[in-house]
Structure formats: C-alpha cells, structure tokens
C-alpha cells in the first residue's frame, strides 16, 4: 500500500512538491479573480512563470 501511494505521489507530484502547491494556489487565485475581473486570464500564465522560476532558483541554489 505504501509503495502504491509512493508510485502515485512520484507519478503526479514528482520531485518538487512546491510546484504542485504553487499550481493549486495559482488556480485558486485565478478562480477568485475570474468572478470579478474580465482580464483575469493574465493571472495564470504569470503565476505559472513565477512558480517555475521559484522552483528553478531553488534547484540552482542547492547545487
């Protein structure tokens, strides 16, 4: 059971769980803003770029 859970964790989340959390937060923020702001489409691409940079910078800093 533990190995099964581990497989799905590795398959979906991968080796940086912060990316998955960042994506969830970015989608949540987009959903909130989309109710009141017609241009909320700009939020997700910018948030995705920010999440990617944070993950890259963290990986580079550790090496």
């Amino acid at each position: 059971m533990r190995r099964f859970a581990r497989f799905w964790w590795d398959f979906i989340v991968g080796d940086d769980w912060r990316v998955a959390v960042g994506v969830a937060l970015a989608l949540g923020l987009t959903a909130v803003l989309a109710t009141t702001w017609a241009s909320a489409w700009v939020v997700l691409p910018l948030a995705v770029a920010a999440v990617l940079w944070m993950s890259l910078a963290r990986s580079a800093a550790r090496r």
Partner: protein, 217 residues
Amino acid sequence: MGVTRGWRSALAGTLAASLVLAVIVGVLGPALTVIPIEVLRLVVGALLLVFGLQWLRKAILRASGWRAVRDEDSVYEREAAAARAARSEERAGLDWYGFTVSFKGVLLEGLEVAFIVLTFGSTQGSIPLAIVGAVAAVVLVVIAGIVVRGPLSRVPENTLAFAVGVMLTTFGTFWGAEGAGVDWPGEDASLPFVLAFVILVSLGYVTALRRRRLALA
C-alpha cells in the same frame, strides 16, 4: 530488452502492456465524459501544469548547465549489461525477465500517454481523435527507430523533454484557466500566444540561469 534478452519476450511484454493500456483508455474514456467540462478542464489543467512544469524544470536545468545532461550511451550500456547478467527463468515459453521488464516499462510510460490521450480527448470532446494522434505518434517513432537503427543516444533527449514540457504547460495553463472560470480573449485563438509566452519565458530562464552559472564559475 529485445537486443539483450530476445525479441519474442520483449514484444510479448510490450503487447500485453499495450492491451492493459487500451482497457484503461476504454474504461476511463466514457467515464470522463459524464464529468462537467469545467471541472474536467480545471483538474486536467492542474495535472498537465504539474507534469509540464516538472518536465520543463529538468529540461531548463540541463540546458543551462545546472544539471548533467543524461549520457544515453552510458545508460544504455549499463542497462544492457544488467539485462545480460540477469538470471534466466522460462515461464509460459517466455524469458520472464525480458517479458516483465518490457511489460512494466511500456505500462508505466504508457500510463502517461494514456492520461494525455484521455485528458486531451475528453476536454476537446473527441477521445477517438486523440487516440488516432497517439497511434500516429507511435507509428512515427517506430519508423524513425527502423530508419535510424541506433540506440536512443542519437535522440536529442533534452530538446524533446523541453518541447514536451512546453506543450503540457501551455495546454495546462489554457485549460486550467478556463476551468477556473476565465474567458480567454479570442478563445482558442489565444492558444498560440500562450505557447509563445511559455517558450519565451522558458528560454529566458535558460539564459538567466546560464549567466548565473558563468558568474559563479
């Protein structure tokens, strides 16, 4: 496996795994069509984004020199040596090692393909068309393999990983935002602009990280 343990067992494992994948797509495909499209796009977008960003992250780190590029020649030699050294055990007339390694490899890698086929197909309303696309890709890869007749070291692995990451991130951003309630300007016509944005940002990160590495050297 084919080269080191024999083609019969390797092809049997590949065929068995392909059948399992076909059953997964056949069962899950119709089930996905009953989920509301907005919910489906949100979940699919989120998963594609997580997958895509992981691919992109690794490809950018390799392209900028922060992570070693995979040496496919040495990986191939290591794996081939391990396969040759493995104990022989015959079951159902097959070399069991060759069969199980081929089966597991095709099943695990194929799961990701099956997921992409199901999600792309269901969000765009045509799973059969997505299956045709996946089968065409398999045929293309097999033809390329026959023409090249060489190990995977000849494939520009990181460029492919970069391209896959860009595509998954682009579709993940597009569908994720739609699922979250966003209306893209120009609807589907905005997809090429999202793609261009992801490519430019990714290339920009490669340049920035390369400069950072040179500055530290």
